[in-house]
Symmetry: C2
Subunit: 291 residues, 2 copies
Amino acid sequence: MAQILDGLKVSKDIKSEIKLEVDKILAQELRAPHLAAILVGENGASKAYVNSKVKDCKEVGFESTLIRLSDTVSESELLDEIKLLNENPQIDGFIVQLPLPKGIDQELIINAIDPKKDVDGFHPENFGRMALEMEAFLPATPYGIMTLLERYNVSTKGKNCVVIGRSRIVGRPMSILLSSKGDPGDATVTLVHSHTQNIEEYTRKADLIVVALGAPKYLKKDMVKEGVVIIDVGITRVEDTGERGFHLEGDVDYEGCKEKASWITPVPGGVGPMTRAMLMKNTLLAYKRKI
Amino acid sequence: MAQILDGLKVSKDIKSEIKLEVDKILAQELRAPHLAAILVGENGASKAYVNSKVKDCKEVGFESTLIRLSDTVSESELLDEIKLLNENPQIDGFIVQLPLPKGIDQELIINAIDPKKDVDGFHPENFGRMALEMEAFLPATPYGIMTLLERYNVSTKGKNCVVIGRSRIVGRPMSILLSSKGDPGDATVTLVHSHTQNIEEYTRKADLIVVALGAPKYLKKDMVKEGVVIIDVGITRVEDTGERGFHLEGDVDYEGCKEKASWITPVPGGVGPMTRAMLMKNTLLAYKRKI
């Protein structure tokens, strides 16, 4: 029976550690780290994400600024806001909550963020620095997974790892980090995706599997070997008849897989809270690099 | 018996195509594309590489400038040279020949190159753009391999590809490009390296293998399956009793492997000339983006 990679617990530890550092900073009469977020439009999920980030800032003692723009904002107005944040010495890092309304070029917007303040790690310069194994802001979800493995001393050195899904924000960076030098790291990584034939052939041999597909209960017990480590990045809202009208489901058939896995992340309470904590960590890093 | 992926022939085709474009440019009374190279010190191999790049420029009709600096040059003097090239509107692209003498921070130097003139594709911003599947200058060797596969219509979509070696200039970018969208591309890629256990288990199942280890005759016949495509990136100088005192050897036991492979690159005449041609291609791209 699998042991739990408890992302909720570890994320709380990390936030406590950050809070301690902030307390020390304030005791030196320095200003607190400051994260800003730009939210465009009224997307419900985006609002919820940004609000939780503001809440996290409060919890760890950061300043936060939320900039809300109408979904009729023009690309050049949004670029102006980014320029202000880039130039504002009081802001250590900022994010532009995605997705952006149609008609706004997401790539253009992300590329306009000063890489030194790009705490989401989405700017090409940060992404390239990560891939070249230089110091960088790592994208929050892969960074969270690496940290979770590290805290539980789950070694990946020389292990056969399979990453399912090649998205820019999870699968691709995850495959790079797991195969970079270090431990966690130094793994033999196969990146599988929509064009892969016989995904089961890869997953059945894997010592560690990261699933980031957004396909509820995709990974089944018969697709994995005994003792595998399973990281579930999926969070899909599945409608139900309960009070909220939906519940969250991961990409892993948890009940089945936990019988064979040595370690497994639950959903919720696994990768999700780690992702949130790592944004705080990146903001603290941005602050420390500047001071 | 394998068919040859003839890099020498294809590189000549590409250089002819570039020459044609340059002829058209000159016919419009525009200036020719202009590549500059900085060579520090007296390393024999580096001198030979840079000279061949100058020769390639001449062949395709580019202007070229070779800047030679003593190996006692300071980091700040080298940075000054880079700044001049960044700011010179007559220079479309430039390279700093590696390796640099001890005491000079290679990372610092590469990061100082304007990404718009970084025709080697080594700057983090270009590397990140590549990994994020945005338009970028691709590193010459992986770009050359992708082009060679394309010209011979060797499809990689859905294929099981193994890249051996995780260097910044070949293995890592190769693994990214083969698993990016497109064809060549859309492959299931496993990146194996010094920490991988039982490399043969991976290579024996591979439809395509890229070997970039620098270990002469590493890949043997019994490590590959019938019909495999083999790309040999290795070029090691092996001493012999002949007139030159050495010959070049690839990472593939060519005589053995060619019996089983469907396609194979020779050494020399495979990846090497493609790498040279792609630097010219990138310089033309840099010119066209500017004009």
